[in-house]
């Protein structure tokens, strides 16, 4: 008996912590699947001519935004790049309002005036996607400055790609955030390609986090396979920001499965490379783990829920009215137009 008890006690505690992990993984799977399906449907709508301009898909990188946003409080701020659909959904925005924005409709989060690259939502503290590489990183430092100035206890997450690491805005923001001890986490989503140019041809020093040392900023580097690990690692940096008011630079090595934008067939990498990388897709890995568990039956229900949400979002976007010209001047200036 003693032997049995001794054997079951640790195993039941393992199984309970493993249950916690699986519950959390299921919830993250749901979020990642919403983003993946939102992106796939927006690619389809783009092909149908319902979405114009540039469309940069987040497929393959979902675990970064989902894991990172899970480490935040609802009042914390996020700011990102033109590849911002995933961040918007991960921060709590509905797929409907994102899809309507992509369709250029007035019901979109930015009333059809921003488009794919400029998703904003004041309610969810999504401070926007930005189209000039690295230009938003000082803005995010300013948001963190405001939190410190007001002592509001909020943390800012700033997302950018490894392409931004070569431009001045990144360095100035890192330098100022360190100098003034700002509560911010810089997250470099290194998807290994700066549009079509691989890392080896854009950076002499491939480890992005080595830049942090020169500015006296804490750093962390992870290869994104497990969304829960992203949450834990970003969580440490968020805590450093919130408790000590100190910045962190995180490099999250990830991979995008689609081209830079819809106009990019991605011929600069081989099908073999792509297939190999898809094997470590965090979304697939999460699904495989869940399928093997007792929660497998819940997967089908989640998938069905996501399909319904996406279908409704596309229909909502399709049927929504377009913005009219009377919006242009009042959104350019607060108050009377300055001409």
């Amino acid at each position: 008996m003693n032997h049995m008890i001794a054997a079951t006690t640790p195993s039941s505690s393992v199984s309970s912590s493993s249950d916690v992990r699986l519950e959390r993984l299921l919830s993250f799977y749901h979020q990642m699947q919403r983003i993946r399906r939102c992106e796939e449907e927006s690619a389809r709508a783009y092909a149908q001519g319902k979405i114009g301009g540039f469309l940069h898909l987040y497929i393959g990188q979902e675990a970064v935004a989902v894991g990172a946003c899970a480490a935040l409080q609802p009042d914390d701020y996020v700011m990102g790049t033109y590849r911002d659909h995933g961040l918007a959904v991960a921060k709590g925005m509905s797929v409907k309002t994102v899809m309507a924005e992509l369709f250029g409709k007035v019901t979109g989060c930015s009333r059809g005036l921003g488009g794919s690259m400029h998703l904003f939502d004041a309610e969810h503290h999504m401070l926007g996607g930005y189209g000039i590489v690295g230009g938003h990183i000082p803005l995010a430092a300013g948001v963190a400055f405001a939190s410190k100035y007001r002592k509001d206890g909020r943390v800012t997450l700033c997302f950018f790609g490894e392409g931004a690491v070569s431009i001045g805005g990144f360095h100035e923001a890192l330098s100022l955030a360190s100098l003034w001890k700002l509560p911010i986490v810089f997250i470099c989503e290194n998807n290994e390609y700066s549009m079509g140019t691989p890392l080896s041809r854009t950076m002499a020093v491939e480890d992005v986090t080595l830049r942090a040392s020169g500015y006296g900023v804490a750093k962390d580097r992870l290869f994104v396979r497990d969304v829960l690990e992203v949450e834990a690692r970003v969580g440490q940096a968020v805590e450093r920001a919130r408790k000590n008011s100190e910045p962190t630079l995180i490099e999250a090595r990830t991979y995008r499965f689609r081209g830079h934008s819809m106009s990019d067939p991605g011929k600069y990498r081989t099908p073999a490379e792509l297939e190999e990388r898809k094997k470590s897709d965090p979304l697939t890995r999460a699904r495989t783990e869940l399928e093997a568990s007792v929660l497998a039956d819940k997967l089908a229900a989640i998938d069905a829920e996501v399909e319904q949400e996406i279908e409704e979002a596309v229909r909502f976007a399709d049927e929504s009215p377009e913005p009219t010209a009377d919006l242009l001047e009042p959104t350019t200036y607060s108050g009377p137009f300055a001409r």
């Binding site: 401070l127 803005l139 430092a141 300013g142 405001a146 923001a173 108050g335």
Partner: protein, 314 residues
């Protein structure tokens, strides 16, 4: 700035040398002692970085005053003003506003060479989403800057190194506000309208004195704001004098002078008795040599000559 920072704790000043050094031109003298290093913030030489930080802080509700040592240096922060400050309101569908003031001395000083003598207001006045002010008189410097700080939009204030030493009556009231977009008649006259802004208003007033001796009564319009631009005052003056001379620093190709000229010909075409004249910086980078510099900068004599051309007395 002191009054506005006392009135509203969301207002802070950030820039190079604004604190311990008391301002590169002593504009912020005493402010560090008064408000502390949390609100009068010395920034390293990273204009793009701290201009962008100001925009981000403004998005979430603070009201920053960002000082550049001169507007010339704003060129490395141009993207922050062009791509972020002016556009965030529109691209967020009106959800976020950017109540921020950028200020610095502008234009020529005294032999500081081509990279430190530029008139940058022309670049910024072109951009919808921004407001641009260029005070010439001490009272307006106070009243316009206060209005700018209280405005919910990005406002760019173009000051002048050579005007910092100009003395004049300044109302004491802490709520002395000069509205943006309203020009002032710096000198009333009936024969010709000289439209100027910032330092060149003083040059235009000198020219008007010379002209007076020759029996020509010039009206000088001090624009005070470049965007919004007070078309009504310009048109009313030109409708009275039927002649217009536009005088300001900056190259003649395009720019504020060209915009004013366009408005006059569109809004007051039938009132004109002569072609509109423009007196601007010569179309070359600023030379260092003192005599050549004076040749390149708009002078009272150049304004006098232009006025005479509009009166066919040249």
């Amino acid at each position: 700035m002191i009054e506005e920072m006392e009135r509203d704790e969301r207002v802070f000043l950030m820039g190079e040398e604004v604190g311990y050094y008391q301002g590169a031109y002593k504009v912020s003298e005493g402010m560090l002692d008064r408000f502390g290093a949390g609100r009068v913030i010395d920034a390293p030489i990273a204009e793009g970085g701290f201009a962008g930080m100001g925009v981000g802080a403004a998005m979430v509700g603070l009201r920053p005053i960002i000082e550049f040592m001169t507007w010339n240096f704003s060129a490395v922060a141009f993207d922050q003003i062009l791509s972020n400050a002016s556009k965030i309101r529109q691209m967020s569908g009106g959800q976020f506003t950017v109540p921020i003031v950028f200020r610095a001395p502008n234009g020529s000083a005294a032999q500081v060479g081509s990279q430190h003598s530029q008139a940058m207001e022309h670049f910024y006045s072109h951009i919808p989403g921004l407001k641009v002010i260029a005070p010439a008189m001490p009272a307006d410097a106070k009243g316009l800057l206060k209005s700018a700080i209280r405005d919910d939009n990005p406002v760019l204030c173009f000051e002048s190194e050579t005007l910092y030493s100009v003395r004049g009556e300044v109302p004491d009231e802490s709520d002395y506000l000069v509205p943006l977009g309203v020009a002032d008649i710096a000198r009333a006259g009936k024969d010709v309208t000289i439209i100027a802004w910032s330092r060149i208003v003083h040059v235009a007033l000198d020219a008007a004195k010379t002209l007076e001796k020759e029996g020509i009564d010039a009206e000088v319009v001090d624009l005070r704001s470049l965007r919004p631009l007070d078309s009504d005052t310009i048109v009313a003056s030109v409708s009275k004098t039927h002649r217009a001379v536009i005088a300001g620093e900056g190259w003649p190709f395009g720019g504020v002078g060209a915009e004013i000229s366009d408005r006059i010909q569109r809004l007051a075409f039938d009132e004109l008795d002569a072609p509109i004249e423009r007196v601007q910086t010569m179309d070359v980078p600023m030379p260092y040599n003192a005599k050549l510099e004076q040749l390149v900068i708009p002078q009272a004599s150049g304004i006098v000559d232009a006025v005479k051309r509009t009166l066919y007395r040249a």
